[in-house]
Amino acid sequence: MTQQTAAVPASPGSQPAPGRPSFEIIPRRGLIPVAVVLAGLIAVIAANSSWGVDFFHVVGGGIWTVLDLFLGFVLGPILGRLSIPARIEVTTRLMPKMLLIMPTVVVCTLAAGWQLALQTGDIQTSYSHHGWIVASMIVVAVMAVVALGILEPANLAVLFELKKPQPDGQVIARLMRRFFYSAGVTGALQVATLLIMTRLATA
């Protein structure tokens, strides 16, 4: 599950962050739409709705892929060139939302995708392109290791650091280096996902 969010690439110094806005690490109001989406996912799976699982898989997968690519290769580098206050402003507004959006999108994509593959028979080992299905699972697994092991912890730790009265620039810089390297890996893996999914769609 990729948790790729753009964040503050801190300056090497350990200066206190100027003009930090107050923010919630987990926006409580955002939990309501998350609950609604997950309830919808459970409903379509329970009802075995073909359109429903297709909708959740396609929409969830599209959002997941686009967010990973956009944040990793477009917004991330732009953030790196912004002034420190601007980076902090964007990060403290964007990252808390991403902490809610990404897990929701990923679980919708995977759960609905599994049901969809069952309905279409693509998950069967007898399916002629079963190898591609397995390949997509492996890609997701590698992305999950990178995201859960590096990206998401770094993002969360940065937010907690920014909550401190005196954020440590060195800590933030160290975490952000981890973030940028792993963002490149997940971005590349999303390209692999696109190749596999388009291959399957036209098989």
């Binding site: 987990i26 329970a46 998950i123 290791v145 092991g149 969360l156 907690f160 005196q166």
Partner: protein, 142 residues
Amino acid sequence: MTGQVSLAGRRLPPVDLLAVVSVALMLIGGVYLAAHLPGHPGLAVPVATVAAGALLTVVDLALLSRVRPFAWPVFFLVFRWALAAYLVIAGLLGFVFIRDHTPAATLAVLVATLIVFAVDVPLILAFTVARYAVPGPAVKPG
């Protein structure tokens, strides 16, 4: 500031690394099972991965419990919320497999895999945040 730099640079047991290895093992077992479902996959590989992952997690928790000083309030704050979130995610995935009438033995291995996974991820998150925190009162999440 000096205190924070020393916190960032101090040597701690590889709690996060071991948990990531455990997550990787869960994913290997999960992918193996998923690649063979909805049939009756052999359970030797996934049982081995979930057992190894669970053992790693126990060792990890033991190593973590010996760390002094540590920002335990921050650790438990993050762990608690992350555990709640990942139990919901694991529960949802478990629901999917139950809904699909997955064979009992396979389902048991899958549930065990999801449980270890749902503990490992909060462990990684909480440890990463707490290692940079000064031991003391927790930061409120909101």
